[in-house]
Assembly symmetry: C2
Homo-oligomer: 319 residues x 2
């Protein structure tokens, strides 16, 4: 849920005058996206999303994010398409914040993940990877293996109060992953945050992908590993191999994994678990319990991490 | 900003099957309404609002609220119109909460109140009062003069920590209003919460009134007094007589105030200030500073109250 900035009606009118998308008929803050303020804009022409980029997004990354969405949309990926103003620009200012208008995607994100969702997600992820191959801009992953230790250090003092023995377990995990992190895998643009609230479905068909504000260049198989974490665990933290198989098989129909990627998958999945565990742990420790943004339980990802650590082979993932 | 309850996609589908409004194409939580959860529903037929009634609304009041909106809409008032299901019912359950679908109103609420808004608000309020005359259901005002003292008592212990001398000032004000509260004024259905975020404008014309969840039966002129508080003070807490004159004159073009109502206006305005001061004071004291709902400064209304107390005649309101 996120509306951090109020937009005045006169400001909005002036902002929209730079676009050729009709006149505003409604403008409502929506509970979508955690990092930015999002508004649903209804004009005489249709529906749009207006995003104000708040402080957790680095303005210098915006050309990458907006350029990528435009690039992917032009290649048939259903994602928010940045709308260019009369001056050709997609990025301008609104209420003192960087802001952009994007197309409105139909569909709803699945509140309860079922097996039927996992195949379409795998397929869409592979299509995204292929469509991103010739995108020219680059953005390194700011939350990859080298970044995890500093993130952990910022939470170390309080980590054992979240779970007994957590410091020792994470220290060991970090040491392992820093030594054994897969290098030289096929890389390209990854979404890096393809959780269920970023995937829309309509009548059981995947209708769109949103929230590209963690997208970056990294190993493609790491994106697959993130999705295994995001889509294949049950509410009781058990791993659903049927979901994993559906996701991986559908991915491979579009883009078969190379042998090195398959071998790396358990380690990549451990890394993906650790990445979300560490950001959640940081937020858990540094965000007041009653704050505007609801904290997510970091221990969920500790359970996921332990599953991947115990995964002896690819059979654990249904391969 | 308010989405307190998550709605599952299967739940939504089952809910909509009881209506004849097309199939869902999007469903987004919106930052509108403080008491309830509101969602913007886009279907193959158009846009609608789905409201889930949360714990601050008494379910037994819902037939009054929904009935009133239907009654007013049928008489040409632009307000959310409850959509009836195939069984004729407007009220059912969604995600375990009472829920209703209403029509979608175009327009945006003015973030910065200007003189040009005040005339249309006065006119719309008078039209609302006339249109409500033959509404059959009754709901007493749960926040009128008899309710203020208990509300104050619940905050008394901490009130002086909010502003020095507040307890003594409010004690005296309550004693005055309990003795001098105007009785036997023309009464009927009042909105009772017609603040700027409940009034939509489109191209400088008033396009709709929303949020009827404080509506009740009370003195019509008390509703006017609430609007004087809500629309005619500047951000620096000074009173703008030009705005008041515009509001009152436009009101009187539709429904002239009776002599008793005019004489009562300063006292009604004091009462209206006190009512919002007391609910804000209660929330200020009983809500953690970092909670999900942003607290509003009660002292704003102390300034308004003092203005009305000093108002020696109707000339203060531009009459």
């Amino acid at each position: 849920m996120a509306v951090y900035t109020e937009v005045g009606d006169a400001e909005l009118e002036a902002f929209l005058a730079d676009y050729d998308i009709g006149e505003a008929e409604a403008f409502k803050g929506i509970a979508e996206g955690v990092e930015n303020s999002n508004f649903l804009l209804t004009t005489t022409r249709g529906q749009y999303i207006v995003t104000l980029y708040e402080k957790r997004v680095d303005p210098k990354d915006l050309p990458f994010f907006l350029g990528l969405m435009g690039h992917l949309a032009a290649r048939g990926i259903n994602c928010p398409q940045p709308i260019h103003g009369r001056d050709g620009k997609a990025l301008r200012q609104l209420a003192g914040k960087p802001a952009a208008v994007t197309s409105f995607l139909h569909g709803m994100w699945p509140r309860r993940i079922a097996v039927k969702h996992c195949g379409p997600v795998g397929e869409a992820l592979a299509r995204l990877h292929l469509a991103g191959r010739d995108f020219e801009l680059k953005r390194p992953n700011a939350l990859s293996v080298a970044d995890w230790r500093p993130l952990f250090e910022a939470s170390r003092a309080d980590a054992d109060s979240v779970a007994e023995g957590l410091v020792r377990e994470l220290d060991a995990e970090l040491a392992f992953l820093e030594a054994e992190w897969p290098r030289d895998l096929p890389s390209g643009v990854i979404h890096a945050d393809l959780f269920n609230d970023n995937v829309f479905f309509l009548h059981d068909r995947l209708s769109g992908l949103i929230d590209f504000y963690f997208a970056c260049n990294d190993a493609l198989a790491y994106d697959v590993a993130i999705c295994l974490n995001a889509w294949c665990f049950e509410p009781d933290r058990s791993f659903n191999t049927t979901k994993a198989r559906a996701l991986l098989q559908a991915y491979e129909k579009v883009r078969p994994l190379e042998s090195a990627e398959r071998q790396a998958l358990p380690r990549l999945a451990r890394g993906a678990s650790l990445r979300f565990l560490l950001t959640r742990l940081y937020d858990w420790i540094h965000t007041p319990a009653t704050a505007l943004v609801k904290r997510k339980d970091p221990l969920e990802y500790l359970a996921y991490l332990r599953f991947h650590r115990s995964a002896s082979s690819l059979a654990s993932y249904g391969l």
